[in-house]
C-alpha cells in the first residue's frame, strides 16, 4: 500500500477551490444583508411603527370602521373564490401538461405564464373592455341586470387572472418529474381514474400543491393593480384591503392606513412562515423549482 500525502498536515490552510477569500465572502454577505435591511426590513418596520405611533387604541379603532371591515370581508371573499378556482385550474392544467402529450402543449404552458408577464393594470383594463358599460358585452349585461365591472364579480375575475399561474407553475415540474408510472400501476390494479387521482396522484403532490395555494393566496389578498382598475373604489362595497389602504393614505389618515397595512403585511408574514416551514419540512417533495423561489 502506498500512501499519498496531499494534506501534509497543513489542513487549516486548505480551502476548497470554489470558495472565495474571506474578504470577498464577507463583502458579498454584507452587501446582501445591508440591501435587504434597507429596502425590505426598514419599510416593513416603518409600517408597524406608523401603525402603532398613536398607541394601541388608535390602531384598534380602525377595525371598528365599517368601511375597513367591509374591505377585510371583501378581501377574504375574493381570496376564498379565486384560490379554489385556480386550484382546480392549476390541477387540470398541470395534469394535462405532465401526463398527456397533445398539440399546442407548449402554447398552453406559455399562456399559463402570461399573467406573470402582463402588467396587472392591463389585465384589469381587458376586463373593463370586455364587460364594462362601453365594452363588448356591456350592453347585453346591463340589459340583464348583471354587473361585473365596478362590482365584486369583476374583482374576483381580475384576481383569478393575476393569480392564474401560481398553482400550475408549482405543479407542472413536480408532476413531470414524477411521470405517470405510479398511476399506470394503480390502473392495472383495477383503480378507477378518479380513485387513482385521490390515492396516488394527490398524495404525491400534496406539499407542492399546498405551497402553490399559499403563494396564490398571498397574491390574491395583496393584488392591487388589476383590482384597482375594475373595482371603481366604492367604499364599503368594492374596496379590498390594498385599495382601502390607498384611500386612507391619500386622506392623510396615516394611522388607519398603516394599521390596515399591518394586517396585510401580517397575512403575508404568516404565509411566508408557512412556506418556509413547508420548504424546511418537505424540501424533497417540492419541485426543484420551488426550492429556488
Amino acid at each position: 500500500m502506498s500512501e499519498i500525502a496531499i494534506a501534509g498536515g497543513r489542513r487549516a490552510k486548505y480551502r476548497p477551490v470554489t470558495e472565495d477569500s474571506p474578504l470577498a465572502r464577507y463583502a458579498l454577505i454584507a452587501t446582501a444583508v445591508l440591501f435587504l435591511a434597507l429596502f425590505l426590513l426598514a419599510p416593513l418596520a416603518i409600517v408597524f411603527f406608523e401603525a402603532f405611533s398613536k398607541g394601541l387604541d388608535a390602531f384598534l379603532s380602525v377595525f371598528h370602521d365599517p368601511d375597513a371591515l367591509a374591505a377585510i370581508r371583501l378581501t377574504l371573499l375574493v381570496a376564498a373564490l379565486a384560490v379554489p378556482a385556480n386550484l382546480v385550474f392549476g390541477l387540470a392544467a398541470s395534469w394535462s401538461i405532465a401526463k398527456f402529450s397533445f398539440p399546442g402543449k407548449s402554447v398552453l404552458i406559455t399562456l399559463i405564464d402570461l399573467p406573470f408577464s402582463v402588467s396587472p393594470v392591463v389585465a384589469g383594463l381587458v376586463y373593463v373592455l370586455v364587460f364594462g358599460g362601453q365594452g363588448l358585452f356591456g350592453a347585453w349585461l346591463a340589459e340583464h341586470g348583471v354587473r361585473i365591472i365596478f362590482a365584486v364579480p369583476g374583482i374576483v375575475l381580475a384576481t383569478i387572472f393575476v393569480t392564474f399561474p401560481f398553482v400550475a407553475r408549482e405543479l407542472i415540474p413536480l408532476m413531470q418529474e414524477q411521470g405517470k408510472v405510479e398511476e399506470e400501476a394503480a390502473l392495472t390494479l383495477g383503480a378507477s381514474g378518479f380513485r387513482t387521482f385521490l390515492t396516488v396522484t394527490l398524495p404525491n403532490i400534496k406539499w407542492g400543491l399546498l405551497y402553490g395555494v399559499l403563494l396564490c393566496n398571498a397574491r390574491a389578498m395583496g393584488e392591487f393593480g388589476a383590482v384597482s382598475v375594475v373595482s371603481g373604489h366604492i367604499r364599503g362595497l368594492t374596496n379590498t384591503i390594498p385599495l382601502q389602504v390607498e384611500i386612507l393614505y391619500n386622506e392623510y389618515n396615516n394611522v388607519a392606513a398603516f394599521a390596515l397595512a399591518v394586517l396585510l403585511a401580517g397575512l403575508a408574514l404568516v404565509t411566508l412562515g408557512l412556506k418556509t416551514f413547508l420548504e424546511w419540512r418537505h424540501a424533497d417533495e417540492l419541485s426543484g423549482r420551488a426550492r429556488r423561489h
Binding site: 408510472v181 399506470e184 392495472t188 383495477g190 396516488v200 398524495p203
Partner: protein, 341 residues
C-alpha cells in the same frame, strides 16, 4: 409495431426479447391495456379484450422500476388492488390483511409490511411489486425488464426465484428483456423482436439451432458472418468453395452465419477456409483464437480444444461444422440451409 401475431398458451412463461426500441415494451403494454393498438386485436382466452379498459383486464403488471406507491407502506402497496375494488367485490378489512400477510410470506418479505418502499433494497422492492401484482389474482402476469435495475448477483438469484414462482402459481407469464441469457434461461418460449416485428418465436433450443433470420442468429448468441456469393448452387467465398446446401436459394450475394463453436481447425488440406492466427486466449473450455481470414477484412473468433491449438501467427485450415445461409439484404426471406456440409 407491425403485423405482430402472438399466441401464448395458458401457463406458459414467455420472454419478449429484443434490443431497445424493438417494440417489446410496447407489445407488453398493449397486452396490459396501457397502450391501444392502431389496429389488430388482443384476445384473452379467445375473448376479445381489445376494447377492455385496463382496470377490467386483470393483468398483474410489474413495472421496470417497480412503480411502488412511495407514500404507502409495503402492506398498503400489496393490498391496494383489493382495497380499490367496488364495495360488492371487495374483501373485508381482515380478509385483505390476511391476504397481504400471505402474499408477503410468499415473496419472503414477512415482517416488512410496515416499511416504506424507500427503506427496501432493489430486490425487495421488486418482490413487493410482484406481490402487489399477484394480489389481484391476475389472468396473466406481465413483467417489464424485471431484473433490469438490479446488480448482477441479485439478478441471478431472482431469476431462479421467478422460475419457482411461475411453477408455484402456474400463471401465464410474459416478461420483457434485452438480455438473451435471461430469456434463454427462464422462458419456455422466446419471442425475438426487432424494429417492431417478430423475427422468430421458438423455444430456446429452436432459437439456438434453427435461427430464422440473420437478426436472430446474431442477437441470440455469438455469430460470425461471412459475405459469400451463390452461383449455380455453389457457395463461393473468395477463391474457396464452402460446402453448404443452397437448396431453394437464388444465385447472388448472400451471407453465411456460424457460431464460434461451429468452426474448427481442420486437417491439412481439408478445410473450407484458411486463415492466420492473430491471437490466442485461454478460456475455461479451451482456447479462443482470433483468425484473420484470407480475402476478408474482418477477423473471426473460433473456439477450439486445447490439443488443437494452433501456434500464433501460423496458418490454419478451418472447416465449418454447421452454418446457416441467408440472402444478403433480404432480411425477411430466409431459407433453411440445413446443417452445413
Amino acid at each position: 409495431m407491425r403485423d405482430v401475431s402472438l399466441d401464448i398458451q395458458p401457463g406458459e412463461l414467455v420472454a419478449l426479447l429484443g434490443p431497445s426500441g424493438s417494440g417489446k415494451t410496447t407489445l407488453l403494454r398493449v397486452i396490459a391495456g396501457l397502450n391501444s393498438p392502431d389496429r389488430g386485436r388482443v384476445l384473452f382466452d379467445g375473448e376479445n379484450a381489445t376494447n377492455l379498459p385496463v382496470q377490467d383486464r386483470h393483468v398483474g403488471m410489474v413495472f421496470q422500476n417497480y412503480a411502488l406507491f412511495k407514500h404507502m407502506t409495503v402492506a398498503d402497496n400489496v393490498g391496494y388492488g383489493l382495497r380499490v375494488r367496488s364495495r360488492r367485490t371487495r374483501p373485508s378489512r381482515p380478509a385483505i390483511k390476511a391476504r397481504v400477510a400471505e402474499l408477503l410470506q410468499f415473496v419472503q418479505l414477512d415482517g416488512l409490511g410496515d416499511r416504506f418502499p424507500a427503506q427496501l433494497s432493489g430486490g425487495q422492492r421488486q418482490r413487493v411489486a410482484l406481490a402487489r401484482a399477484l394480489a389481484i389474482e391476475p389472468r396473466v402476469l406481465l413483467l417489464d425488464e424485471p431484473f433490469g435495475a438490479l446488480d448482477a448477483r441479485v439478478r441471478k438469484d431472482l431469476r431462479r426465484w421467478l422460475r419457482d414462482i411461475h411453477k408455484q402459481t402456474g400463471l401465464t407469464t410474459v416478461f420483457v428483456t434485452h438480455d438473451q441469457d435471461e430469456a434463454m434461461e427462464l422462458a419456455d418460449r422466446v419471442v425475438v423482436l426487432n424494429e417492431g416485428r417478430i423475427e422468430q418465436i421458438g423455444t430456446p433450443e429452436e432459437l439456438y439451432d434453427r435461427p430464422a433470420s440473420p437478426f436472430v442468429i446474431s442477437f441470440v448468441g455469438e455469430a460470425v458472418a461471412l459475405p459469400v456469393t451463390i452461383a449455380d448452387g455453389h457457395v463461393k467465398f473468395g477463391g474457396h468453395e464452402l460446402h453448404i446446401d443452397t437448396h431453394g436459394l437464388r444465385s447472388g450475394p448472400a451471407r453465411v452465419f456460424f457460431r464460434p463453436a461451429d468452426i474448427a481447425v481442420a486437417a491439412e488440406g481439408d478445410g473450407d477456409l484458411e486463415g492466420r492466427v492473430e491471437s490466442l486466449r485461454r478460456t475455461p473450455a479451451g482456447v479462443r483464437a482470433t483468425i484473420a481470414i484470407d480475402g476478408y477484412d474482418q477477423t473471426l473468433e473460433i473456439d477450439s480444444p486445447l490439443e488443437h491449438s494452433a501456434s500464433l501467427g501460423g496458418r490454419v485450415p478451418l472447416s465449418l461444422a454447421k452454418a446457416r445461409i441467408f440472402p444478403a439484404d433480404e432480411r425477411d426471406a430466409y431459407v433453411d440451409a440445413g446443417d452445413g456440409i
